[in-house]
Subunit: 488 residues, 2 copies
């Protein structure tokens, strides 16, 4: 008889019942070819003795395997390993070769695989990010309260079960009202869908619009995850310079007059990475171009709700665009980044197609979070949060600008952004960012060396210095460390 005592080891502290541990191990032994087809296993009493277990446990394991067809119960003879099972060896994923043959050719591989957004901070280190909100200010306690109130309400289980790919209607209504109040958008329910943050909206719009080799206009430099998204769909990117007034609209018109342009991607407030707002004059000119060439546009206005110097400029989507503008935004930054809720505004047939595609990617949204957010809109919490955080972020922006000017002087250049969460900080050529980042890390300050901002564009020795998530003390510490790195 085989040394079952050695072959089968059980552990009562595991979550899995012991009889299932035995069954799984026996399957392993069958798969490894140690228990061969046609072999009779020891009787349950004998095996139970060997393993020092109750006989009922062994019987349960055998029953299990018989019901799964691994073993066959032969009357008056006992249980036998089934005869129709070819022998195999078990294997793990360790060192396995992927079935995905094009890994090396995949276009993402051009990009630094670790962008700052995914860097895990070193414990205790001060981190400069790309422009994140301060989760400490987010109304998360209120959000948790609303979640509880939703699951305590009668019929909540029906709410959780039946959701559509366009998102919860009550939240879409609250958002419509909010977008009408703040952006003058005149829309109704078929024109809005909720997404997992603005990124999903960009992906959906790109997937519906772009075919292989289509020409897509983007800013230079541009938000890298948008560029990658369009390239991944097979687009050829035409890069148009972004200056202090935003993207060069004359050049867009020139391109449209010469070639068939499939789409324009645009960040109208606080362009990523350079934080510029597209001027009113350029917006008007661009609208004429959009109408003349029926140019589809993704207007990514992710940062509209965070504007300090004046009110933000009304979106292209609020003006006469002939249905060509897909308007995208987000409340993720109001909710502390983890709860990702964005939206897409478009003609009704486009929203329907986007919802159909979203269903294949992610069935539907999270009705619990969405209802909680709808409640926070309704009771004014989101409004109050935005007012409060705009005030605080403005102070932080001003403090950072002041310290940068007084402490770093000519070593850096920047334009005060009219809103958003980051400053586009250009370093003098004397100070290569790569070296600065390395020195800063040694002093406990984590920051990017900036390569990801120049994806497809030329390097400017610059980075986005996110100020919103840093309190006054932390801002002073960041600038203090930079001062040490640059001058000492």
């Amino acid at each position: 008889m085989l040394p079952f005592k050695t072959l089968i080891q059980t552990d009562k502290t595991l979550k899995l019942p012991v009889y299932q541990q035995i069954a799984n191990r026996l399957i392993g032994l069958i798969q490894e070819g140690i228990l061969k087809p046609g072999l009779y296993l020891p009787g349950s009493r004998v095996l139970a003795l060997q393993l020092a277990l109750h006989r009922k446990t062994v019987i349960a394991a055998y029953d299990e395997l018989v019901s799964q067809d691994w073993l066959v119960a032969v009357p008056r003879k006992g249980v036998m390993v089934a005869g129709n099972l070819p022998v195999i060896r078990p294997r793990t994923y360790r060192g396995a070769v992927s079935p995905y043959e094009d890994a090396a050719a995949f276009s993402f591989h051009q990009v630094p695989s670790i962008t700052l957004a995914s860097v895990k901070p070193v414990t205790g280190a001060l981190v400069v990010n790309d422009g994140f909100p301060d989760a400490r200010l987010a109304p998360l306690t209120d959000w948790v309260k609303e979640c509880r109130s939703v699951i305590e309400s009668p019929r909540y289980h029906k709410l959780l079960m039946y959701g559509g790919a366009t998102g919860l209607e009550s939240l879409r209504k609250q958002m419509m009202e909010y977008l009408s109040d703040t952006r003058g958008l005149n829309i109704s329910l078929p024109h809005i869908m909720i997404t997992r943050g603005a990124q999903m909206a960009i992906y959906l719009a790109a997937a519906l619009l772009i075919k292989k080799d289509d020409l897509v206009i983007v800013g230079s430099p541009n938000y890298f995850f948008a560029d990658l998204c369009f390239e991944q769909r097979g687009a050829q990117l035409l890069r148009v310079p972004v200056d202090e007034e935003g993207i060069d609209v004359d050049m867009i018109e020139q391109l449209c007059s010469k070639r068939k342009i499939k789409m324009l991607y645009l960040i109208t407030h606080h362009h990523h990475p350079t934080t510029v707002t597209l001027s009113a004059a350029r917006r008007m000119k661009l609208l004429a171009v959009i109408r003349k060439y029926k140019l589809p546009v993704i207007e990514d206005d992710y940062d509209y709700d965070f504007h300090y110097s004046s009110a933000p400029i009304l979106p292209l989507a609020s003006a006469d665009h002939g249905g060509n503008v897909i308007y995208i935004g987000s409340f993720t930054k109001s909710l502390g980044l983890s709860i990702r809720i964005g939206f897409m505004i478009a003609p009704a047939d486009f929203i329907k197609a986007a919802a159909d595609l979203r269903r294949l990617m992610d069935l539907r949204g999270d009705n619990l979070s969405e209802q909680a957010l709808a409640n926070l809109f309704e009771d004014g919490t989101i409004d109050r949060h935005l007012k409060k955080s705009n005030k605080i972020y403005k102070e932080r922006r001003d403090l950072l600008c002041h310290l940068l000017r007084t402490k770093l002087g000519d070593a850096v250049k920047f334009t005060v952004p009219s809103g958003g969460m980051a400053i586009w900080l250009r370093f003098s050529k004397k100070y290569p960012l790569k070296k600065i980042a390395a020195k800063a890390a040694a002093l406990g300050l984590q920051m990017t060396s900036g390569e990801q901002y120049h994806y497809g564009a030329s390097s400017q020795n610059a980075l986005r210095l996110g100020f919103a998530s840093l309190n006054n003390k932390e801002i002073a510490a960041v600038v203090g460390t930079l001062e040490k790195v640059l001058f000492y």
Copy 2:
């Protein structure tokens, strides 16, 4: 002077400050061409009188528009509409033509646009769904508690800010342990990523594997959202019959021997829609085929944790598949459907590519929910919930089967499923489902007429009768209504 009192109406009850309401309305008037470039606006005192507002409000509006370049302040003459703004008319999205030219040709349009999953239940109606869990049993109160404990913990804001596209490490570790205990999967961190439910994992795997015109084997009938997902990537589907033992593996081998097959999609437990479990013998045979032809497989085992008749059969992914099996599962059904958390297990390079793509679709997951779930794994809540709900679902399955047999007799046929949340209920040809569904609706029972289950396959006059979300009383009411519909 223009009738500004009529043209500009303000409303103090709105959230938007009155001065911004005025500014937005003035922009509208400029865009409509009513206020033409070069026109001087009335002095602030005059306009304030007309509108019955404080002068400061009007000044704030003018300042706003000057800073946005809509107006120009001319010293000693007042404010003028800027001269460089072309005239445009505002428009809404209502009736707009979409920039998405292929809407009509989109392949999704073949599918019934309303599948049961997205039907909104009529208030008060009893709903038969496709196989949803009972959200009333889900540990949502515990989940909310864990969310609160996360946001009350020190440094939670860093947790919320810095997340990666593969999901939170602490949750991946908990899942690895759980998957090892329950499925014998021997993996480490680089082999697992968290997704928004199993659907996102299917989409990601399909997007990485499938190119236009690739041949993909699926069951007939098959889970429609998987079929649609592959077709949307340009795949040509080869449909292989699914019988009482699962998919026909001999036919898969035949196909592989004749043509280059890109991928096989497989639901190993409780096939959707027919609820069949792939038998142990076929699994062994299939593993040999996978190894011989290096056949990439998506093993969708979404229902593994809900199995009543015996223990579930270990996944293909736990055996010797040469790295070709992408294993997909979900905890969405344990969390009451709204909080969508699934996973993908694959070789490390595949997970890396999938995470890169996920970043473009949805940047990253929700660290707050993921940490809450990790805590629920750690303290045993998920385990207890699964034990409890398996017991309850088994009772519900048995009650439903008993009632169907005794009350509906020969009018219906079904095989008792060994697990899962639905019965595949075939109606006798005498009773066309379309008519039954219409009659049931009149009696307050919402159910599908079943078309979505036959996408690409021939109709069987059958539907999935989800039992898990119905309590005993509701199950009796459903069968009672069906009895009335069929026999009275």
